[in-house]
């Protein structure tokens, strides 16, 4: 089957068969098309071409509801719960059991409790979702799908927000439903999990099926090779900067409840990587430098001058710009075209002296289009662009006027491999031209590959700054994880989307 979005084909001629009573492991890099494939099977989106059969009968679900009726359930990587409702109501959302025209609470709570028990969660089904941990919510999401007794279940990164123990519980549960005869598609970045549970493994890359195995215990390096397709090379490191001209300095920076005690210096042309696990305070720290949140301790100095940053405007006027983590929620105005997105922060400054004319905007847009290799029509709203193209628009927005400090938070999340390389190139060039760059990334390879030095954070505190030669994945992980036992795959945050 084929699926394309906004002129970018994200899935090309992929054929997959899921036998009843087996677990098919689906692997691939971010943007390989895994989530798209599962969305098609679960009726969330429709394929552009191709057909599906279910137990020998034609199957073309037009909605997730329809798919559920046919016995196909998707357990999504993103948690979708109504926080104001009770656990039980969330589990039975849309099909509350009734008796005599009223909601039959007794049956609902009893069945909810049973469904929760199946995934090993012991919670009062009467309590509200609000306030529950992500792991608990993920468990409830699974219980919700299983409560409908589906014949086929797709797990899309169920373990992304779970601890090891919780993951084990989920894996046992999947094993049990498989033995009951259900067919399962298990999507995960954690290859060990896939190996332990799958009877078959399918690997996607750039929307194509590249390899499949009819056994589960495939060596990890084989799986890796199939996912990546080639060795990951780092040609993106900018040349070693002369560290004389310190651009940005943070002294004992902190914000209550988020992070504290962060001090570092970044020179012109230097790329400082910021590594750490999810929740280490990396995003919070860079957000205060960019003025998105206010610091309540410490100082920020720009070229030796103390800087008071109270709002994003202060940072931008001083030359500190940030490409935020959440591209769609914080970075881009999705309904407007790329030209308007790019010029938006600069109109304020341009408009001080003259009128903003279409010609002026057009020139800026044309320049950034060429410079940042933005593809697709400039007059289309950016919501129709691919993730990689959107990210390029965002980079153009902040680099079209040369900043002094560029902050990148997860710059390649949900971006395909080709665009990833292009983005690295843009970052490298920016550094070469004398911009001081901060890169926050959960992809260890990315941090290590791009940065001159790596600042590691853990539990809201700065642990250490590693020089390039000392920074390898082992050293970083040792600092990032407070305890000795490390599961390296923990750092792969996987809740991005792929469109």
């Amino acid at each position: 089957m084929v699926k394309s979005y906004a002129g970018v084909t994200v899935l090309k001629s992929v054929s997959v068969t899921v036998p009843a009573g087996e677990v098919v492991g689906l692997i691939g890099e971010n943007g390989a098309g895994k989530s798209t494939l599962s969305s098609i099977i679960a009726g969330v989106v429709r394929p552009d071409s191709g057909t599906m059969t279910l137990d020998g009968e034609p199957y073309a679900p037009h909605s997730p509801h329809n798919a559920l009726d046919r016995g196909v359930a998707l357990i999504h990587q993103e948690i979708r719960m109504v926080p104001q409702l009770s656990v039980a109501e969330n589990i039975f959302l849309g099909r509350l059991p009734t008796r005599g025209g009223r909601v039959d609470s007794r049956t609902m709570f009893a069945e909810a409790e049973a469904a929760l028990g199946m995934v090993g969660i012991h919670l009062d089904p009467r309590r509200k979702i609000a306030g529950l941990s992500m792991a608990a919510q993920q468990g409830i999401e699974i219980a919700k799908a299983l409560a409908r007794k589906p014949k086929y279940v797709i797990f899309d990164e169920p373990s992304a927000s779970l601890t090891e123990h919780e993951t084990d519980v989920v894996l046992h549960r999947i094993e049990a439903i498989r033995k009951q005869g259900a067919g399962v598609i298990y999507i995960s970045h954690r290859l060990e999990e896939v190996r332990s549970i799958a009877q078959e493994i399918v690997c996607l890359r750039d929307g194509q099926l590249v390899q499949s195995w009819t056994r589960g215990d495939v060596p990890v390096d084989q799986l890796m090779a199939a996912m990546v397709g080639r060795d990951f090379e780092f040609e993106h490191q900018a040349p070693e900067p002369a560290r004389e001209h310190v651009v940005l300095e943070a002294r004992n920076l902190g914000r209550r409840g988020a992070f504290e005690g962060v001090s570092f210096r970044v020179a012109a042309g230097e790329i400082l990587g910021i590594a750490g696990l999810v929740g280490a305070g990396r995003t919070e720290m860079v957000r205060t430098i960019a003025g998105a949140d206010r610091a309540d301790q410490g100082e920020i100095l720009l070229e030796g001058q103390l800087l008071r940053i109270r709002r994003p405007k202060d940072a931008i006027d001083a030359g500190i710009v940030m490409v935020p983590e959440d591209r769609k929620g914080q970075g881009l105005n999705l309904g407007r075209n790329s030209e308007e997105n790019i010029v938006s922060p600069w109109e304020r400054i341009l408009g001080r002296t003259k009128l903003i004319t279409p010609g002026m905007l057009g020139r800026i847009a044309a320049k950034s289009r060429a410079e940042f290799d933005i593809r697709g029509r400039m007059d289309l709203p950016v919501v129709r662009f691919s993730g990689g193209n959107q990210q390029k628009v965002l980079l153009a927005k902040w680099l079209v006027q040369t900043p002094k400090v560029l902050i990148l938070d997860e710059p390649t999340r949900g971006v395909d491999v080709g665009a990833k390389m292009a983005i690295y190139e843009i970052v490298r060039k920016a550094a070469e031209s004398g911009v001081a760059v901060l890169v926050v990334s959960s992809e260890l390879e990315e941090v290590l590959g791009l940065s001159h030095r790596v600042l590691v954070m853990s539990g809201g505190r700065m642990r250490k700054i590693l020089a390039r030669d000392d920074a390898d994945s082992h050293a970083v992980m040792e600092l990032a994880v407070p305890t000795a036992a490390i599961d390296e795959t923990n750092i792969d945050e996987s809740n991005e989307d792929e469109t």
Binding site: V2, S4, A6, G7, V8, T9, K12, A290, A292, R311, P312, K313, A315, I316, D317, M322, P324, G329, Q330, G331, L332, N333, L334, G335, R336, E340, S344, P345, E347, R348, L350, G351, R352, L355, I356, T357, P358, G359, G362, A365, A366, R369, A370, D373, R375, G376, R377, M378, D379, R384, N389, K397
Partner: protein, 342 residues
Amino acid sequence: MTSVNNERTTSVGSDEPATGPGGSRPGLAGRLVNRLKQLGGPIAGLIIMIIALSFLSPFFLTVTNLTNIIAQIADIGIMAAGAFLVILVGGIDLSVAAVMALTMMFTAWLNKTAGIPFVAALVVGLLLGALIGVINGVLSAYGRVQPFVATLATMSAAAGMALFITNGNTINGFPTWFGDLTVATLVGIPLQGLVLIVIYLAIAFWLRFRPWGRSLYAIGGNEEVARLSGLPVKPLKTLVYVIAGALAAVAGWINISVLDSAQPTAGSGYLLNVIAVVVIGGASLSGGVGSMGGTFVGLLIIGVLNNGLSLLHVNPNLQSVVIGAVILAAVLSDRAGAKLRA
């Protein structure tokens, strides 16, 4: 200029045809056509209505009637301009019509009871409108009160105050020169129509060529993105409520002049017309979408519709039913158009 090749590489495997060089801009004529296309549904509706009414009523397409229409819609149109700006940033202002009534009564009271010179009273009325706008803006931008609730409160208060000032009575007897202003015409257009056009052009210019005006689209599209882009979100949101309040007072001036009296109930029934104009003009209540041109077309549709239905002796009560249907038709055709363009 970028080459066409760029386009090709992105469209691999897609059914989207490779279009011309996207980096270049269309010429003036092309841009004009594009803008008209964006307003396609409402403009087509307006033209059809005008043609149909010309056949249905011999009085419709006469100079007197057309100038009448412009004179009749000027006050609603001026309020709709302010309401559009508020809706553009994702807010809503329910208080405009009540503010108009209140500023009218206050101006009249200042002049007649407190003995303040008439022109000064007009200016104070304008300031009062702006002040209520400040309250609306501060409540919704800084106080984080939902604009619907904040302006519902000020609407209720303003309507009550308007009645309280004279205990519900009408004040009349203003300088004759002021009443003459709305009878006068310039190049065949009634003066209040010219005021309307100047206001629309000024706001359209602001939205298109000035940074703060342009920022309103960014704020309405995604407030957090606008904030992180360094735009002064809260001051600008407040500003649009102030503009809306002040324009409501200007609409009040016109009403005083036309009616030669100030009635506390003058604005009743205006609010829905004002919002209808903005919505028919293609603005989205979730913000970030719409234009002054669209609002103007929406205004003409409402004006032509009201006028035409009266000429055809349609029961006035049925006229709101028709307006309701037109609102739905406009919104649905807008959505269909958006799909077509997409």
